[in-house]
Amino acid sequence: MKPRRPGNGITIVGETLACLVFLAAGTYLAYQPLAGQMKSSGLALGWAAIITQGVALFALIFGLLGDKMKQNWRRRRAERVAPMIRERAIACAMGLAPADSLLRDYRTYPLETEACLVDSLSPLSGEQRRRLAAAAEQIGLARRWRRQLGSWFPDLRRRAGTYLGLLDSPADRATFEAMLGDHDELVRIQALRALARIARGEEMFELFEFAAGESLTVQALMSNALRSAAPMLCQEALTLVAGWKDAGRIAAALDMIRGWQRSLPMPLGPLLEHPDAQVRARALALLPYAAGFEPLAETIIRGLADPDHAVRAAAAEAAVPLKITVAVPFLAAVAREDNSEIVVRAAVFALARLGAGGARVLEAQIIHGGACAPLALEALEKLRLRRGGEHWAT
């Protein structure tokens, strides 16, 4: 989907230039009478600039102070009327009052009613949420939010998207899908989250696929939003993910799955054999969460011999939670001979945490002054202090 609005950059430069032209015109108007009275035209121009900018500033300052007063007044009013409105909203949600009982409140106190309704909607679910959502629709709040989605200000669009998402209305699916084309990332996040709440089955996978092409912020947030669909996505979608052409997107999808930190059956086989190293490394990082995956030890040992250093490091790290003690001799070889500092560090810290066998290898390295002796000393020291070397192993 393409952004609906022109790029922010052009708009921002345009607005700045427009303001400067406006100020220049004001300065010129002020300069005319001053030039006749002052000997120096430069100083007359200076005065004119001060007068123009001063007038603009004082208008802004008065506006700001007025706005502050208005906000204080609104806050006091909200404190006064909010309990009453919230009570009516709850009654509405419980089915004890008709939806239009909020209409009068909305007409008299629109902002307070909006705030109370949103506050009340968030913790509700099921029939109560549906009733209150219907009330928001009936009194015209939902219509207002849909209108605000067309605003030039991203904060307003995002807020409107958030609130509209609370209604869980499948009828708004098209609206949320259109929001996915917004150039503001946070607006897109709200759309994705709203869609995640109303999506079913295959639609979940579409959202997952969309999020995998977005930034890490979106991936992290969507990973959380799609947590409820984790079993379905792990079992069915991973097979589809393996077929994607973009390796970066596959890696992102695997990162999102790792974000769930849930032990689930995962068909990781094809991904562990993927030609792209970042995919293989991510698949190895998922191994500790892949319930029932076999053969674990063989996969780790093969990973330790991978030509890519990130894959070898991932294999070394995965060996620890899986307690693959048969990998100790292979890890020892990597620790002694690997030419990548990251891999050596991962192997040494893995050895320290793989029981007595691993610790003996490290002690031997220290005694014989091996290349990884300083790292081995650090790893054993952390082990002794029960820190497990979990910090910054790689």
Partner: protein, 476 residues
Amino acid sequence: MSLLGLCHAIFLALEDGIIAYVAVINLIYLGLLLLGYFVLRKRSTELEREELEVLAKSPLVAPVTILAPAYNEAATIRDSVRAMLALNHPNHELIVINDGSRDDTLQILIDEFHLYRSSRTPTAELPSQPIRAIYESREPIALVVIDKQNGGKADSLNAGLNVVRAPLVAVVDSDSVLESNALLYAQRPFLDDPSVLASGGIIRVINGCEVSDGRITRISVGNSLLAALQVIEYFRAFLGARVAFSFFNCLLIVSGAFGLFRRDAVVEAGGFDRNTVGEDMELVVRLHRRSHEAGRPYRIVFVPEPVCWTQVPERLRVLRTQRNRWQRGTVETLRKHRRLFGNPRYGLLGMFAIPYYAAFEMFGPLIEFTGYVVTLGGLAIGWIPPAIAIVFFLVAIGLGLVLSLSGIVLAELTTRRYPQARDILRLFAVSVVENLGLRLLITFWRVQGLIDGLRGKQGWGTMERRRFRTAKAAPP
């Protein structure tokens, strides 16, 4: 034309030149402030609490190591370390570098956080003074303390970089207080765009605020005139210029008080320059330069959300030392990278940012000061009528006032951190005082800094550290 006539003509041309310079600088500042305003208005950046909580637990957010150099910070180190360890982030480590403190900074850290002498191995070999020992905490907290011989801030940061293992490093002054979500906000550009090399946040003045357990509990401008003056300066600098420069990807300063860097980029660039007092600016300019020369796409960004609260000088003597140092830092950096000046190969960096800093930040104070001297001299020898001289001073004061007020208005329109109208009114009053005399004093110090910088003077001078203000206990 007689010699006297020629002198008079040169004098008048100089006077006109200075007026033209003041007009241009005003126009550029105003343009930057306006651009900053529109950039801030067009961005939706504040994450919701729920989103921040998700990010703060997500394994997808890369680890960050905070580097906090400390020199004679015994008064504040305990609170600062606690606050930095408690930041909202899924995976952050704190490395405090004790730069040969002569007070008991190190002992406080050892006692308070149960440190043991660690065998931690280095990951890089950047030049720094010898490390005496590395300590880590026995507690389950990610704290490392490096004890090294005194070598200055850049030297300490290099020593810290040598033991960092996380892909991102946050450089923080150990006397500063970060807001709890500051790290996450500063890291967001890195999550959104892998080409980001560095990000810097807003620095605010902590003097006058109340701090409890390393957290700001009450925000206020306070009673110190000098501190309030610096509040306005920080508004102007951060909300106008830095936002605008970041918009054009030619941000030259990521403040030394709080900035986030990609470790590999900094190490590859050779770390912090130990021969300059403006190590923060120098590194950023070097990162720009290397990326341009390598033809790599990159971004160095300013993020308006992460707020770092820092102590500013409340005594004229200390403020003078600080301003002298800042000016020398600018001079050293611009001299070192003079090849960039007006060089189209470096894009807007060479054609706009570097010339802007040279003309208005480096030589600006000298030109402004010359303007005052020339006007007073002209008045004394009768070449300038008193009425014109008065108008000149009023114009200079008026333009300064307009910019100060614009900074306050911009802060109020965008970030709104001071909750009380009283604080805003106080800042308005201080901006008048600033332009009636203090600015001239600061301009003079900056001229001295310029001369010292051109002469190659080194050294940091002294900086006072005070305990943070805490809320008064309620009467029994």
